[in-house]
């Protein structure tokens, strides 16, 4: 990396900021338990020190000036960061970033954490930096924002460079197409376009509101693959968690066709619902436990006789499903942590299949998985559908949502923004316009 013609290899983010590269991010970047002023000068306190003692008065005065410059004069430098609103904490970060006027200012998806007021402050600063001859790298998936702020846009997809458009070539439609890519040529998705024939209800989501979700309602049918598409923070992952009872909705409820309310994972599992978490290594598998222990865990209730579980019954259930899913392993006693991502995901599927699940909630089921296992998962989904099981597939990969679903719901800012029935005509471009 070169910065202003010189080699740029910062040791850490603090080193980078000393060299003129400042950054604000989407996540929280302040320390909650210390004051706003202390956050701004964290690591740079020495200039306000005399004989090893900190002159707080001078520090706070300097912080106050920086906050003014950042357009956040309403924040008192002495207030503890944790007591500020999320937006004000972002502005504290902004003040910190502006301490040394940066040569390169990186804004990584920060606007999603800001209200209109915060956004206009940030936009103003970006324009000021530009006029002062400094560079700004603005990372966002909000087309409108990019259109109004940027002079040129570089598009990346799946970690690879796609194209750079200058101001004249920046057309929203063209940008969206480049972001999503053309039709994927691989035909490992479903090839049929038969509509879901069954009308019976498997699950009902009834005006659920929680966190990012606002009044979401829909019905999942038996034998249906329901795809849910949207941007990461549109609330779709929360929706998946709510459907498995991991999140209690503030309003509304999730219930089965027979009226049973799903209020905890324990209830969900006893009613034959399985959940594949997006965060596989931490939430879906017990990494240091064996493949066998992972597969049988939800099924222990089924295996027990007079309260006792024989090791033989555990082994045979685990052997059966490891073999049927062709899990690549030395033996079922091998620790799950030693498996590849794809085989770990097979263990997760095996554990729900072994428990005779009828409803599957998949949150990004093919994330970080090689093409081979990906295809295996798609075939399993088809088999489950044929058996009359229902699948909800939340995914950030539009191609698989379009390729596998009987019906697609798009979510935008926590609300359902459109619904598509399966058809050969649906393209990523048609779906994405309801997501952005």
């Amino acid at each position: 990396m070169l910065l202003m013609g010189r080699e740029h290899s910062p040791k850490d983010s603090f080193d980078a900021s000393e060299r003129g590269v400042a950054m604000i991010v989407q996540e929280q970047g302040t320390i909650a338990t210390i004051s706003a002023a202390a956050n701004i000068f964290a690591g740079r306190e020495s200039q306000y020190c005399k004989l090893g003692l900190l002159n707080r008065k001078k520090l706070n005065a300097a912080a106050s000036e920086l906050l003014n410059r950042a357009g956040a004069s309403s924040i008192t430098p002495t207030s503890v960061a944790g007591s500020l609103s999320l937006e004000d904490r972002k502005l504290v970060e902004l003040a910190r970033a502006l301490y040394k006027t940066p040569e390169l200012f990186i804004v990584d998806e920060t606007t999603t954490a800001l209200s209109q007021r915060g956004r206009s402050i940030l936009y103003k600063i970006i324009r000021e930096l530009k006029e002062a001859g400094k560079a700004v790298l603005f990372i966002s998936h909000d087309i409108d924002e990019l259109m109004s702020l940027c002079d040129a846009v570089t598009i990346l997809r799946d970690g690879t460079y796609v194209d750079t458009l200058n101001k004249e070539r920046m057309v929203p439609h063209a940008m969206k197409t480049l972001m999503v890519g053309r039709e994927i040529s691989d035909n490992y998705y479903r090839i049929d376009y038969d509509p879901c024939g069954v009308a019976a209800t498997a699950m009902i989501v009834e005006s659920v509101s929680t966190g990012a979700l606002h009044d979401v309602s829909f019905t999942l049918r038996k034998g249906e693959i329901l795809g849910i598409a949207g941007l990461t923070d549109c609330g779709m992952h929360e929706l998946a968690r709510a459907m498995f009872g991991l999140v209690k909705p503030d309003q509304g409820r999730v219930k089965l066709g027979d009226g049973t309310v799903i209020d905890s994972p324990t209830t969900a599992i006893s009613r034959k619902i399985g959940f594949v978490s997006k965060n596989r290594d931490i939430e879906a598998i017990l990494a240091s436990a064996s493949i066998k222990d992972n597969i049988v865990l939800p099924s222990l209730g089924k295996l027990q006789k007079f309260g006792l579980i024989s090791h033989r019954s555990e082994r045979s259930l685990a052997e059966e499903w490891a073999a049927r899913l062709k899990i690549k392993m030395r033996s079922i006693k091998q620790a799950c942590s030693e498996l590849s991502g794809g085989n770990k995901q097979k263990v997760v599927l095996a554990k729900w299949l072994a428990n005779d699940s009828r409803i599957f909630i998949f949150d990004c089921p093919t994330r970080g998985i090689d093409v081979g296992v990906k295809e295996a998962i798609y075939r399993i989904m088809e088999d489950l559908k044929r058996d009359g099981c229902s699948i909800v597939m939340v995914s950030e990969e539009l191609a698989e949502v379009i390729g596998m679903s009987d019906r697609i719901l798009t979510l935008k800012d926590g609300r359902i923004s459109s619904s598509f029935e399966r058809s050969a005509e649906i393209t990523e471009a048609t779906v994405i316009q309801y997501m952005i």
């Binding site: 994972p265 579980i309 090791h311 899913l325 062709k326 030395r330």
Partner: protein, 326 residues
């Protein structure tokens, strides 16, 4: 209803690897090897007095309460928690049993176990329902129970009814121990309780998402250690003949040390097993007994215990960064 998964894409079958001895296999047998070495060492230094019928009987009787408590302790440690109140519960339960025995000697055992169960329930509820850190809960429980025991015994020893002496029978103790061990082993290895507790110790979130009722299971674990501490309290009472604040004082740390010496991780999880409690208790007992027999003096015992403990934790932790006190 079975699924008809048939067409899962073919992925080459896994290659079988031979039975090499991995480092985890070595760690698995290290505690047992250590115990054998310790026995051989003290058998030699004590001039053959370690392995005599008379001494073995003494060792068994001396470490009886620790065996009972450590086996139960494995249930809580499996969940990556510790029960720091076990020793105090033992002392309190034995004082309560002593009082009960003054009314009717037959009440002593049920009262001791019931007291332990209630203490465990209180620990579990405070931790799970009121979301207090388990370490704080158990520490406070320890202070409360120690104070209660001191008040009940007026700070000295309180003699139990003489008729209870007949309970202190080695053959009966052996029988009780065998039944107790079998019961706990089945509970730990062949029931949902044991398997769920282990799953919690490995990853609470993954366990929750696999249908483990974390709160309920943690309360059950504390009730198991509580009841076992009460049970051990009864046997401590009939052996010493008196309830005193000194009963069970070193039990809390001894249980933890025994379990770790036995090869179980202090953060529970996959390595959890009852045999760790047995082997570890034997190591501690042989160490203490062997040093006395070999004329090394009791004073150095705590020192040696401390050194061995820290060495074992260092070996077994191996990059495990989980905090011990929660």
């Amino acid at each position: 209803m079975k699924h008809s998964i048939s067409t899962a894409a073919a992925i080459g079958a896994g290659e079988k690897s031979g039975g090499r001895l991995s480092s985890s296999d070595i760690l698995k047998y290290l505690p047992l090897a250590g115990l054998v070495m310790l026995v051989v060492f003290f058998q030699v230094t004590s001039g053959g007095r370690l392995l005599t019928a008379q001494n073995l009987k003494l060792v068994f009787v001396q470490s009886y309460a620790l065996f009972l408590a450590a086996i139960a302790g494995a249930f809580v440690i499996a969940t990556d928690n510790l029960d720091f109140s076990m020793g105090a519960t033992l002392g309190f339960a034995s004082a309560c049993a002593c009082f009960a025995a003054m009314v009717d000697v037959r009440l002593a055992l049920p009262v001791a176990v019931a007291v332990g169960l209630v203490v465990g329930l209180a620990n579990g509820v405070a931790h799970v329902v009121f979301r207090l850190p388990s370490f704080i809960v158990c520490l406070c429980m320890m202070f409360i129970l120690t104070a209660a025991t001191q008040t009940m015994t007026k700070g000295t020893s309180m003699m139990m009814p003489v008729s209870m002496m007949s309970f202190d029978n080695t053959l009966m103790k052996v029988a009780v121990f065998v039944v107790y061990l079998a019961f706990m082993l089945v509970l730990f290895e062949y029931t949902k309780v044991g398997k769920h507790l282990k799953a919690i110790g490995i990853s609470p979130e993954a366990a929750r998402q696999s249908g483990v009722d974390i709160g309920k299971m943690k309360i059950i674990a504390y009730m198991i250690t509580g009841a076992a501490a009460g049970f051990a309290g009864f046997f401590t009472l009939i052996r010493s003949g008196a309830a005193s604040p000194a009963n069970g004082q070193t039990m809390t740390t001894d249980v933890i040390i025994a379990i770790v010496l036995g090869g179980m991780s202090i953060s529970g999880g996959a390595t959890s097993k009852i045999s760790a409690a047995l082997i570890g208790t034997l190591v501690i007992t042989v160490l203490g007994n062997g040093m006395v027999l070999s004329g090394m003096g009791g004073d150095a015992q705590q020192l040696i215990k401390g050194i061995i403990f820290i060495a074992v934790v260092a070996v077994s932790a191996r990059g495990n960064t989980s905090a011990i006190v929660k």
